[in-house]
C-alpha cells in the first residue's frame, strides 16, 4: 500500500489572500459573517482545513457489501473510490492513476476484480496496490511498483458508517464522534432488527454554500413554514406528530461540531414502547405484516421503526442521520452544493415494509418530493440574499437565553440554533488550527 501524499495547503498553492482572513472576527458566538457563504478564498481554505483535515463520510457498509463492491464518491473536491477487497477490508482510494493521473473508475457503483487505467493500462488491485504495467521493460529496474499504488486514505467505520481522512495523525474516528456514537446506535434501530441497507439515493444541487445546508439539518424553526405543503398532505394524526416546534424536543451540542435535534422525543428509542397504539397511517402495514404470518411482537417492532427516528443527528461536516435517511452534502464551489439523500431499508426485511419506507422517502425527499424542493428554494434565497450588503451577519442566536447544560453539551429548545452554533464553533477551530 502506498503512503498518503500530503495535501498542499491552500496558502502554499498561492490561492490564499495576501492578508490572512480574520476568522475569529467572522465567527461570533451568536452570529457568523455572510462572507462565509460568498468568499471564494474562504471556500478554498475550507477544502484544506475542513474537508482534508477531518473524518469525512464516504458511505455506508451496505453500499459495498461484497469483495469487489465499490462506490465512487468525493471528499471535498477530490474524487475517491470506496471499495471492499477480497479479505472484506474497506479502502478509500484517490481516483487517480499514479502514471499520468487519469481516473481509474467512472462508474458510480458496481463490482470489479481490479481497477485498470484506460489510458495506458496500469492495473490496480482492490486494495489499491499496483499489480501490473503493460510493457514494463522500458522502465528497466526503475519502476518501484510497491510505491505506486493508488493513494490510500485512512478509513474507519462506526455503526456501519464509513469515514476517511487524509490525516495520519487525526484522532481515531470513535473519539471524533464522541457522544454522537450513542445517537448513531439509536438511528440504526430503524431497520427493525434487520441490518440497515442503503437502497438508492436522490441527488440534487442548489446554488448555495454548503454551510447553508449544514445549518438546515438541526433547524426545526423552518419546518412548519417551508414544509406547509408537505404537512397539508398528511392525515391529522401524522400532522400532529410533525407539529414539533412548540413541543418538548431539544437540540444538543455533542462536541466537535456534531449536534442532535430531537423533534419527537417518544421516537428516540424505536425499541421502546412497543405496546403503544399503532398510528393510523401504519395500520394497513401492520395488518399486511400480520397477514404474512409475522407474530405481533415482530409486527410492532417493524411498524414502530418504519417511519424512522424522531431525531436528526448532524455529524460535522458532511453527513447527517436524518429521521429515516442519510443526508450527505458535497461542496462543489463557494456557491454550489450537491445533496444526496440516501434511502434506508431493512436488509432482508419484509418487502411490504421496505416499500413503505421507499414511498415515505419519495413523499418528502428528492427533486420531486413534497419537502426537499422547498428546502432548496429557501437555501437558494439565502445565497442570493447574501449578495445584498457587504457587512451583514447571519444570526444564529435563537434559543441562547434558555440554553442549559444537557447530557453532553449545551442544550436548547427544539427550535434553538444550538446545532448551528456547535458547527460554527468547530468550523472556526478547523480554520484557525
Amino acid at each position: 500500500m502506498s503512503t498518503v501524499i500530503p495535501i498542499q495547503s491552500a496558502s502554499a498553492a498561492g490561492s490564499a489572500p495576501a492578508t490572512p482572513i480574520p476568522y475569529a472576527e467572522l465567527v461570533q458566538p451568536d452570529r457568523v459573517h455572510t462572507s462565509l457563504y460568498t468568499n471564494p478564498a474562504i471556500f478554498t481554505e475550507e477544502m484544506d482545513k475542513v474537508f482534508y483535515s477531518n473524518w469525512i463520510w464516504v458511505g455506508h457498509v451496505s453500499e459495498v457489501p461484497e469483495p469487489g463492491s465499490f462506490k465512487s464518491t468525493w471528499i471535498g473536491q477530490q474524487p475517491v473510490v470506496l471499495v471492499r477487497d477480497r479479505k472484506k477490508e474497506l479502502h478509500v482510494l484517490l481516483n487517480r492513476c499514479r502514471h499520468r493521473g487519469a481516473t481509474v473508475c467512472e462508474h458510480k457503483k458496481g463490482k470489479t476484480a481490479s481497477f485498470v487505467c484506460p489510458y495506458h493500462g496500469w492495473g490496480y488491485g482492490l486494495d489499491g496496490s499496483l499489480r501490473g504495467v503493460p510493457h514494463p521493460e522500458s522502465y528497466g529496474d526503475t519502476l518501484e511498483k510497491d510505491k505506486l499504488g493508488l493513494v490510500s486514505l485512512r478509513v474507519e467505520e462506526y455503526a456501519g458508517m464509513v469515514f476517511a481522512t487524509f490525516k495520519d495523525d487525526l484522532m481515531p474516528l470513535a473519539e471524533w464522534l464522541g457522544p454522537a456514537k450513542k445517537w448513531m446506535d439509536l438511528f440504526m434501530k430503524q431497520a427493525g432488527g434487520y441490518p440497515v441497507k442503503v437502497a438508492g439515493e436522490h441527488r440534487f444541487t442548489f446554488p448555495g454554500n454548503w454551510k447553508i445546508q449544514l445549518e438546515n439539518t438541526t433547524d426545526a424553526y423552518h419546518f412548519p413554514l417551508v414544509h406547509k405543503s408537505f404537512l397539508s398532505s398528511l392525515d391529522e394524526q401524522a400532522k400532529k406528530t410533525f407539529d414539533f416546534v412548540d413541543g418538548p424536543g431539544y437540540v444538543e451540542d455533542l462536541g466537535n461540531g456534531h449536534s442532535v435535534m430531537v423533534m419527537i422525543p417518544e421516537l428516540i428509542d424505536l425499541e421502546a414502547d412497543l405496546d403503544k397504539p399503532i398510528p393510523d397511517r401504519f395500520a394497513e402495514l401492520a395488518q399486511a405484516l400480520r397477514d404474512e404470518g409475522h407474530d405481533e411482537a415482530k409486527v410492532r417492532r417493524i411498524v414502530r421503526a418504519v417511519g424512522g427516528t424522531g431525531f436528526n443527528l448532524n455529524l460535522y461536516p458532511n453527513v447527517a442521520c436524518s429521521m429515516a435517511f442519510f443526508r450527505v452534502l458535497r461542496p462543489v464551489s463557494v456557491n454550489e452544493t450537491e445533496i444526496h439523500h440516501a434511502a434506508i431499508v431493512m436488509d432482508g426485511g419484509p418487502a411490504i415494509a421496505n416499500q413503505y419506507r421507499l414511498r415515505l422517502h419519495e413523499h418528502f425527499q428528492g427533486p420531486m418530493g413534497f419537502g426537499t424542493p422547498d428546502d432548496g428554494e429557501a437555501w437558494e434565497r439565502v445565497q442570493k440574499g447574501a449578495r445584498a450588503g457587504e457587512d451583514l451577519w447571519i444570526m444564529v442566536n435563537r434559543g441562547l437565553p434558555g440554553e442549559k447544560p444537557g447530557t453532553d453539551g449545551p442544550r436548547g429548545d427544539v427550535s434553538a440554533e444550538t446545532g448551528m452554533r456547535a458547527a460554527y464553533r468547530q468550523w472556526l477551530k478547523s480554520m484557525t488550527a
Binding site: 438508492g200 439515493e201 406547509k228 397539508s232 419519495e362 424542493p373 422547498d374
Partner: protein, 162 residues
C-alpha cells in the same frame, strides 16, 4: 398482431398523449387527473434501467391519492418552490406501439421538456413508457414511466409533473 402498420391506432394514441402534454404544460391538472385509471401509477425512477419500481427508490411513485396530493401541492400556493410557478414546454414524439392485446397497449415515446422559473432554464430529456387501456372515450392511463436519461445524475428541483 402486426403493430407496425396500425396507423389509425397510432394516430389515436398520439392525439391522446399530445392532449396529455398540452394539459400539463397549460396546468390543466384536474383534466389530467381524469385521464387516469383509478389504480394507475405515475412513476419516475432513479435508474432508467430499473424495472421493479415497486421495490426500488423512485423520484415519484404516485397512486391516485399521491397524484391528487401532488396536484394540490403544485396549485395550492403553499409551496415556495412552485411560486412563482415553473413554466414548461414539452415535445413528445417518436411514438411507437410496442404491444397491443386489443384492450391494453404499451407505447414508447421520446419527450424533450424545457422548464423556466425565475432566472433559470433547464432541459429534461426522457424516454416515456405508457400502458394505456382502451376506454369508451379514448384511453385511460394505467401506467406512465418517465425514464430521464440523466436520472442517476444530479438533478435540480422539478416543481411540475414530468
Amino acid at each position: 398482431m402486426n403493430t407496425a402498420l396500425q396507423t389509425d391506432v397510432l394516430n389515436d394514441v398520439t392525439a391522446f398523449l399530445w392532449a396529455e402534454a398540452d394539459m400539463l404544460d397549460n396546468e390543466l391538472y384536474e383534466e389530467w387527473l381524469q385521464l387516469w385509471q383509478e389504480d394507475g401509477l405515475y412513476i419516475v425512477p432513479i435508474d432508467p434501467r430499473e424495472t421493479d419500481h415497486e421495490n426500488t427508490l423512485n423520484y415519484a411513485y404516485d397512486n391516485a391519492k399521491m397524484r391528487q396530493m401532488r396536484v394540490r401541492r403544485l396549485t395550492g400556493g403553499e409551496s415556495i418552490s412552485t411560486s412563482p410557478e415553473p413554466r414548461t414546454v414539452r415535445m413528445a414524439s417518436r411514438f411507437r406501439i410496442v404491444e397491443d392485446d386489443g384492450t391494453t397497449l404499451t407505447v414508447r415515446c421520446a419527450q424533450f421538456l424545457t422548464d423556466f422559473r425565475k432566472e433559470n432554464q433547464h432541459q429534461y430529456t426522457a424516454n416515456l413508457v405508457y400502458t394505456l387501456r382502451r376506454h369508451e372515450t379514448g384511453f385511460r392511463i394505467v401506467r406512465k414511466v418517465v425514464k430521464l436519461i440523466n436520472a442517476d445524475d444530479v438533478l435540480q428541483t422539478i416543481g411540475y409533473i414530468l
